[in-house]
Symmetry: C2
Subunit: 388 residues, 2 copies
């Protein structure tokens, strides 16, 4: 059964899936030795809490009952240990939250997928920031959604399936919504009578200033109060290899997401969940403090180097957290076309067009400073500056 043999057998869903351009870039990048890559939006290898993870495993395997429990099937909704931890965290944040409001997913990519499968019939509108996370666009487009920019005029004839937004250190821009923007976004969701999906994967990585209320906070504060579904991730603050994210939302909606997850893969890894439950207090305390310092330093080095080597050849904002700086180049520069030259010159980035639902943004690009060695950040930006 070769390519030819598959013709005429594939679903429309499968046919709509586009390979990720970022993955292709990673492959290209891996062949080039001297390359300084600002491509992948992944945490730094050197920042994983390895010792604590190892301790968690030792503790779980040290008692036959906890070992057996971690290696067995668990409820689809998630292991009791990890869901209970999340409930306590939500309660500490002042939200009324119970176990039924929480679902553990295999990373927040899966959470976005499950919500799309729950709410977005093909042809329905999904409203997004532009630019927005390319992995979410991939899901929405695969499901045949009509992906529209939040700043476009609403289609009065149909209610959107949902709004998808990141309020903090957005991927790809690094930007935060102001309080006023947040209030307006929640109000927009109410007016459109639609659900608001808040993806806050970078939540813990704030470098400057105080946190603003989440969209869920603005929307009544507790998961059963409003129309907001909150997505969190353990990938950026702990480790992506565990494949864990979570959903906090209205219990009626969470129950239905769980049924879809049950159908599609039964549950997330029990062992990963129980390990994460062990680590969570440390990760969301001391560990994120250390992460913030490490990534803040890289952000600062990146911004300094941009000032020095790129200057007025691009525009950018100062991100208050997260992994990304977003560059707007001169109108006539196509960052996709420029990429192969950049790689020849020893520097890589992600062309901005991948983050737009409508193919615009050709003169933008995303720099991720999260995995570049601090000592090489300036050299990388200098190469980019020379190219521009």
């Amino acid at each position: 059964m070769d390519e030819q043999g598959l013709r005429g057998r594939l679903t429309e869903y499968s046919g709509r899936i586009q390979p990720s351009g970022i993955r292709a870039l990673e492959f290209m990048a891996s062949r080039s030795k001297d390359l300084i890559t600002f491509g992948p939006g992944r945490p730094d290898d050197r920042c994983f809490p390895v010792d604590r993870i190892q301790e968690a495993y030792a503790s779980i395997f040290g008692t036959p009952a906890t070992a057996a429990d971690a290696l067995q099937y668990a409820p689809t909704e998630g292991s009791l240990a990890l869901r209970s931890w999340l409930v306590r965290r939500e309660q500490a944040l002042g939200r009324r939250c119970e176990l039924d409001n929480v679902l553990i997913t295999s990373g927040s990519q899966q959470a976005i997928h499950l919500i799309t499968r729950l709410l977005a019939e093909p042809g329905r509108d999904i409203l997004v920031q532009a630019p927005t996370y390319s992995g979410a666009l991939q899901i929405f487009q695969a499901n045949g959604a009509n992906v529209r920019r939040l700043d476009a005029r609403p289609d009065p004839s149909s209610r959107p399936a949902f709004i998808y937004a990141m309020a903090d250190f957005q991927n790809p821009t690094g930007a935060c919504l102001t309080l006023k923007d947040r209030q307006a976004l929640v109000e927009r969701a109410r007016q459109l009578d639609t659900i608001l999906v808040e993806d806050n994967a970078y939540e813990t990585l704030r470098f400057d200033g105080d946190p603003l209320p989440s969209l869920m906070d603005v929307d009544g504060g507790s998961p059963d109060d409003g129309r907001t579904v909150y997505l969190g991730s353990f990938s950026k603050c702990a480790a992506p290899g565990l494949r864990l994210g979570w959903v906090v939302g209205p219990r009626a909606l969470v129950a239905r997401l769980a049924l879809i997850k049950q159908t599609e893969d039964l549950q997330a890894s029990t062992l990963s969940q129980n390990v994460m439950a062990h680590l969570a207090d440390f990760v969301f305390g001391q560990h994120v403090d250390a992460l913030r310092q490490s990534y803040r330093m890289r952000r600062d080095l990146t911004l300094d180097a941009l000032e020095k080597h790129v200057g007025n050849k691009a525009r950018w904002e100062r991100p208050a957290g997260g992994f990304f700086v977003w560059l707007q180049l001169a109108e006539d520069i196509d960052s996709t076309a420029l990429l192969s030259k950049a790689i020849e010159a020893g520097v890589a980035y992600v062309p901005g067009a991948s983050f737009f639902p409508d193919g615009s943004g050709s003169n933008t690009l995303r720099l991720s400073y999260s995995t570049v060695e601090p000592g090489r950040l300036e050299e990388g930006i200098a190469r980019l500056g020379a190219l521009l």
Copy 2:
């Protein structure tokens, strides 16, 4: 946002999902202390290779580079270590197999889901054994497939999306297909020009006799030769809490499954995969030998007890491996109606109707001996016998 608020917002897909009856049963069962349950098709807690898993973790975390690798993102197709191991295994079984033929999934439940998303447009036929694995039926029905029995007359007007079958120690019947049955099934797939999905989750748990050729073996022998897609699972032979399964199939098809997986959850846990790669030689050698002994003993005790306490009140076959014995009761007994009485009497099973695509099989039931303590097997069957 409550139940009421969700009205009119949900996709057809979501609406078609039925909660698993088996999960409801597990919940009921957990409230009854003295219950002997033949319900869950899960491996025995006491049979996990805990020491070896712990060793694998220690080894991975013992070196910074392997620790970082295991905690980082990995390719969607799977970690190189685990895919390479599977390629070597396939080659040892005499199959031409390369990395491109292998995809690691989050359990084989996800593999069935991905294949359905790839091949089955709503309304298309999927042909199944009757009875068959209820988790697969849940997927097929959620996707709006027209699930038909393999033994029914084919619909000449449309090609089925695929055939789904288990050739060894089938869930729920425990039965194996004869060589002749296997040849006929492959021939049937060829005549219908459709894809054959071979789910072999219980593959390693053979108690008696020699293995028969797999459907893939009958269909040319190598993944690129034929129309067979082979699904394997690490849940029964190692531990379900790792959430790992695999697909071996034609590379063109595997590449498309990987794109769907990338869209839906990026990848399976890197750490689980690397741990499994460490263990795999041990698991597929010594460990499955020990498992076979343990489960064979339970099967024998179960069959003896059935002979003694149920006798001619039901019919069953002797399974040559796996977890299950399938009981056919008198025509007028409804095993679903009987279940609450059975639980009152201190014994649980899964009513057979859940395994049929057409609501038939009301006088059948599945007994899983895999998690019952050997010393309680006879008592459990005696309770069932008294009830019948």
